[in-house]
Symmetry: C2
Subunit: 224 residues, 2 copies
Amino acid sequence: MLNQKDVAFIESIFTFWNRLNPLQKSLILGNAMPVNYARGENIHSGENDCIGVLLIKSGELRTYMLSEDGREITLYRLTQGDVCILSASCILKSITFEVLIDASTDSEVLLINSSIFQQICDANIYAENFSYKMAADRFSDVMWAMQQILFMSFDKRLALFLVDELSRNGKDSIALTHEQIAKYVGSAREVVSRMLKYFENEGLVKLSRGAVTVIDKDRLGKLT
Amino acid sequence: MLNQKDVAFIESIFTFWNRLNPLQKSLILGNAMPVNYARGENIHSGENDCIGVLLIKSGELRTYMLSEDGREITLYRLTQGDVCILSASCILKSITFEVLIDASTDSEVLLINSSIFQQICDANIYAENFSYKMAADRFSDVMWAMQQILFMSFDKRLALFLVDELSRNGKDSIALTHEQIAKYVGSAREVVSRMLKYFENEGLVKLSRGAVTVIDKDRLGKLT
């Protein structure tokens, strides 16, 4: 089911690999499943949903919270080589909250289902410790997001998002609607549109349908 | 330095105790230090501050974030029997953020300094795993706080705080100033005062100097 590259990928990501016995290794390899997600697809939707650990081969997963009135707050994003552990939060007894996870681009992952991974973690302290370390990494991400959301004025937040996007995609423009940007920065579409219009009037960006082109990256960067 | 009760306390809190060798046990016991903090005292103030692991014998510690303009956001509180691990965050490589920790009441703790605890964690995977589990517990606390802050309207948040305080202290009133309540709920004093005045007009609470007396707990509870 897995090719040689997948096996090498798992061995490189799971830093506890050498601590597993042969049976545990073959249990993981025999149960790791390549899965593709389409852009926008929901992977994990909170309560009672515990599909397993995801090793990201390509693409990007976005983890977020959803309010009662449907507002989304992006907590962090995972990309190639990252491990998504909160999609297996039922394994970690100390994790008592629920988040949502979507594929934000077409993504290829290896999925190791929760009951198999639980079995490994119960039997092998190094595997369990790896999982809790991954959770602590995400804790750090969430604290960063929280500081952005709580303490930064919105112009800074939006400018930071745009600058981050450019450095990620290596282009001059960002192919996202205001609605999508609002989801990423945890705000409302109206607020994003207003601020982008302000940025345009300031000569920082140029707006077009479904895209924001940055025309003065230096000045935008100074806002952040 | 430690009395028998302190030793038993450590053994009951550190669930990895039986996984330690005699040398590691005596290293912890020989370096655990009883410390008293006065109400309001700062215990940990972020960067470069890594005093060690705190085992709380009595009292309450409050962990919070501070914005550039001095606003405080309470993340969680720890009480008797809890372990404060973020005061030793330098030990956990996955924890890359900084928080502040104050004693919110007079508190007695046992302090195990960071370098000793680091030595134990480096040598003993069960101790390290315990620390990361504690961090994951706090992750869950922070996610809860974040949901409160981001998604609840302020009347709900304040009502929830008051109801929680009553169930904690077993009384009818809360001996805190509006300023202190504002710190706990992550808001401004003016906002708290205005909402409390509104609650008073609604016949839910009675305000007096330095205290809030709840006179209709049922209706207040319905707000939450």
